[in-house]
């Protein structure tokens, strides 16, 4: 397995290089001259030259140790992304936003996965009963209700009317208290879609012969479900779950916006809106890096949960 991991890690080098090349080409060649965009339509050549100098855009594009691409590559590897258009260091923006974003998305992610996987087992077990039908109806309803409605409802009733949570981010409160309601809303809004998916996975698994055999041998329901069925259903679960992890980094735009959580979802959308190439490029690079790493983790997880799979 070690050999496999090392070889996969080596594969990441060309992938990362490709991502860097792609973002560089997209932003520096396809996207036109960034300095003109920053300086504006009516800018003098002098202003444009100053901006080009400041951002190193007056250097050759490729084929030099001090070329723009070489610097782009070097800066990315050292996580030195330079300054955003509002003059703040991009890495500072990301550092500031990553805590709140993860504080929001990580609990939502685990909450949704743990609850929906557990419930899906139960629902799959009682398939065909009124509880199963009710669960499916609730899932479909949950999927159909817009995300914004969950937010407005939660904010009005749970925070304002019943005073259970803060209505909005308050610097006087700990981050845990500030993200509690958004997390709850995120979990509730995400349950329908995930429960329905995992229910299907579990139902497929429950129809297998070994489940009938286990019950016939007199094993307890809990043991059959959580030890045998769950284990065998892990492959599709891992595929869905682990591949979703890199996106946790990107935060949750609507929740961040309505609850004032200063996270990366907001940062990314604002950067796109303001055409802040420096922030977009940094976020794309980090996302790609995480995606590669978590893909590797997914493969490793396959071998951990299923002995029939070995990594070579």
């Amino acid at each position: 397995m070690t050999t496999y991991i090392i070889s996969r890690l080596l594969y990441t080098i060309p992938i990362v290089f490709g991502v860097l090349l792609l973002t560089f080409v997209l932003f520096n060649l396809v996207g036109g001259d960034i300095s003109v965009e920053i300086a504006g339509k009516d800018a003098t050549q002098e202003t444009i030259d100053e901006i080009r100098e400041e951002y190193g855009l007056n250097k050759p594009l490729f084929f030099s140790l001090d070329s723009q691409f070489a610097n782009h590559f070097k800066n990315a590897l050292t996580f030195d992304f330079g300054r955003a258009r509002d003059r703040e260091l991009v890495i500072n923006k990301i550092k500031r936003g990553i805590g709140p974003s993860l504080a929001l998305t990580v609990p939502i992610f685990f909450g949704v996965v743990i609850i929906s996987v557990s419930l899906s087992l139960v629902v799959a077990f009682v398939r065909g009963t009124i509880w199963d039908i009710l669960a499916v109806v609730i899932c479909v309803a949950g999927m159909s209700i817009p995300y914004l409605s969950f937010i407005l409802f939660g904010q009005y009733f749970l925070a304002y009317k019943w005073g259970l949570f803060p209505v909005f981010f308050s610097p006087d409160l700990s981050l845990a208290r500030n993200v509690a309601l958004p997390v709850l809303i995120g979990i509730t809004a995400g349950l329908g879609r995930n429960l329905r998916f995992f229910r299907t996975v579990m139902l497929d698994e429950m129809r297998n012969d070994y489940v009938r055999t286990a019950f016939a041998k007199g094993l307890k329901t809990r043991r059959v479900l959580f030890k045998h069925v769950l284990k065998n259903a892990m492959i599709p679960i891992i595929t869905r779950v682990v591949s979703a992890i890199p996106f946790l980094f990107l935060g949750s735009l609507l929740l961040e916006r309505f609850f004032g959580i200063p996270g990366l979802g907001y940062l990314m959308v604002e950067a796109i809106g303001s055409r802040d190439y420096f922030v977009i490029s940094a976020m794309t690079y980090i996302s790609a890096l995480l995606f590669v790493v978590f893909n590797l983790i997914t493969d490793i997880c396959y071998s951990l949960v299923d002995p029939r799979i070995s990594l070579e």
């Binding site: 339509k41 509002d86 003059r87 936003g97 504080a103 304002y160 700990s174 981050l175 309505f258 604002e270």
Partner: protein
């Protein structure tokens, strides 16, 4: 990957053991990850915790701000915050009406020479800059007259690209020459600020003499503008381009925390010299409680906190919860707040909420960039857009019929307002006429008109609805339109670099003179100056220059009206509405007297802590 079928019993046993280990590892991984998440979640946000007896003002900003550098900002959100940190020479009296200028950093009102060209201003002694790392020993030094000279020269520095240069353009002897000199400098930092400017002299540390090229009656009101607030050269040198995040002023509050997307916290500045609450006002002020704190030292508040909330619902709910002291009424909650008779509803009265309304000297518009090749040379197109907008419907939908239609650019409360402007018909909703004009516009353009783009300075639901409204109105007459929503700093950057086709914006007067509104169309003040339309009309310019040197008089007002008609005829903007402010505040928020021109008023606000605490109990009984 390779699939291997395990068949032997010993192998199965090994596998089970292996399984248990792996399960343990996975469980540990899961617990670690959740734990890490909780640790992150538990991280405190390093903000000050409100003590029970601490006086904290809780405000809301509905947009992010780009920077807190008075020399280069014009948007109202930055000015609101920066006005608590920086101080100009003069300020408007907090209570007196009509509005009256009084000294702030100046010792007294300026001595003006007989020819109205020389202003001698004595500076207060014992005024200190806020403590900051930029000073030796981090202790703020005393303010000197040279700081004003430096700040004005800095605005003149072309490398600094100040939006405020237009205020001083062609006004002060030698300052335009200084600006010319800065053109040859390599960068902002290379400019030699010790270079003499004849019209800005300091015979001693506490006297500033300003010599003008020609009479400029508005100078005193300009010296009450935050743009003229002194900035310490040490701070500019120390922070360089980061100065926008490190304001160092002389005001009652200093910046403590600024989380750009989240909140701004100011704390009382220990180096503030001290100032006193006014002892007199206008009739009725004593009865209204505005003189309860007369003669007391200000500021009252220990901290001022602005939470940046772009969506209306959370801001409104926070206000009702008592976590925000004052708010405007969101359009969707208007019926909850106001009854049909224009009074607060019983529910609001039960919350001890107070309403203050006042005519804000402001005008809002859909502006056209006159340098845009499609719009700039096509007057029928611009007029068609203006006729296509149903302003009354807009005001009904977005402002609950609270605001008046803007028939021109000068707000109704200004003395130079033209009472006959409505009859001129420039703000009429006439889609048929718009369609006729569009045919003419297509001829001028030489074919089908391209898709036009409107920039809006916000991404909230309100702005999206506004964008949809404009789009629907213009689509109805046959125009294809795209809307671009952006945050305030991006919007400003794009407008200032003339990179926008159409934009929605507005402006409030900084003084009772309507000159602010007319300056927006003077061709020397093109973006990044106040003329964001990049409009140019020699006839208008000539009248503007004539009016600039005139004292306030009926003749001057007449001139303003004439200039207004020229603008309306050329249609560089479709004027939409003026604003009538409806502000709600809690009864613990004291000394809230609406002021049309001043922003540095947090120092006067006081919180009745007993009432604020009692509100929590009141809420329980109401719920």
């Amino acid at each position: 990957m390779k699939f291997v079928r395990i068949i032997s019993a010993p192998a199965l046993h090994r596998l089970q053991t292996h399984y248990q280990i792996r399960m343990s590892v996975r469980l540990a991984l899961l617990v670690t990850t959740i734990g890490a998440g909780l640790i992150i979640a538990g991280c405190d946000s390093s903000a000050s915790i409100e003590e029970p007896n601490e006086m904290v003002l809780h405000h809301v900003l509905s947009a992010k701000i780009k920077g807190l550098d008075p020399g280069n900002m014009r948007d109202v959100y930055s000015i609101i915050v920066a006005s608590q940190i920086f101080e100009p020479l003069y300020q408007y009296h907090f209570l007196k009406r009509p509005y009256e200028l009084v000294p702030l950093l100046a010792e007294d009102m300026p001595q003006i020479s007989d020819d109205l060209l020389t202003y001698t201003i004595r500076i207060k002694k014992g005024v200190y800059f806020q403590d900051d790392l930029c000073f030796s020993n981090s202790k703020g030094r005393e303010l000197k007259a040279k700081d004003f000279v430096f700040s004005l020269k800095r605005i003149a520095n072309i490398k600094y690209l100040s939006q405020n240069w237009s205020i001083f353009d062609n006004k002060i002897v030698g300052l335009d020459e200084f600006r010319e000199y800065t053109k040859i400098c390599n960068s902002e930092a290379d400019v030699d600020y010790s270079r003499q400017v004849q019209g800005l002299t300091t015979p001693d540390d506490y006297t500033l003499i300003i010599r003008l090229k020609k009479s400029w009656p508005q100078l005193c009101t300009v010296l009450a503008d935050i743009a003229t607030a002194p900035v310490a050269k040490e701070a500019v040198d120390y922070y360089g381009k980061d100065i926008i995040s490190h304001p160092v002023g002389t005001g009652p509050f200093r910046l403590n925390v600024w989380r750009r997307d989240s909140y701004i916290e100011l704390v009382r500045s220990p180096s503030f010299r001290g100032e006193f609450y006014p002892s007199s006002g206008e009739p009725g002020d004593a009865e209204a409680g505005y003189l309860d704190d007369a003669g007391k030292p200000v500021p009252f508040a220990d901290r001022v906190l602005w939470t940046i909330i772009e969506e209306r619902q959370p801001a409104w709910l926070l206000f009702l919860q008592g976590k925000v002291d004052a708010t405007v009424i969101p359009k969707d909650n208007f019926d909850e707040v106001m009854d049909g008779a224009g009074e607060l509803t019983p529910a609001m009265k039960q919350h001890n909420i107070h309403l203050k309304t006042f005519n804000d000297p402001s005008t809002y518009w859909l502006g056209f960039n006159m340098l845009d090749p499609v719009l700039g040379k096509n007057k029928p197109l611009r007029s068609a857009i203006s006729y296509a907008i149903d302003r009354e419907k807009f005001i009904e939908l977005f402002f609950n019929n609270r605001h008046p239609v803007a028939y021109g650019l000068i707000p109704p409360i200004m003395p130079s307002y033209n009472p006959e402007i409505k009859e001129k018909g420039y703000a009429k909703y006439d889609p048929e006429k718009a369609q006729e004009l569009l045919k003419e516009a297509e001829k001028i353009h030489g074919g089908k008109l391209p898709t036009l783009k409107i920039a809006l300075p916000g991404t909230s639901t309100w702005y999206r609805q506004f964008g949809q409204f404009l789009k629907r109105n213009l689509n109805a007459v046959g125009l294809e339109v795209e809307t671009e929503y952006m945050d305030m700093p991006t919007y400003q950057e794009k407008v200032n670099t003339k990179s926008i086709q159409m934009f929605t914006s507005g402006s409030s007067a900084t003084s009772p003179d309507a000159q602010d509104f007319l300056a927006m169309f003077y061709s020397r003040y093109n973006a990044p100056g106040p003329n964001k339309f990049n409009y140019s009309n020699p006839e208008f310019d000539e009248l503007y220059e004539k009016a600039q040197v005139m004292l306030d008089s009926p003749e001057k007002h007449q001139l303003y009206r004439k200039m207004e008609l020229i603008v309306l005829e050329d249609c560089p903007a479709a004027f939409l509405n003026h604003r009538v402010a409806y502000v709600l505040h809690h009864d613990w928020y004291k000394n809230y007297k609406p002021h049309a021109f001043a922003y540095g008023l947090s120092k006067y606000r006081r919180i009745d802590l007993v009432k604020r605490t009692a509100y929590k109990e009141l809420l329980k009984t109401i719920k």
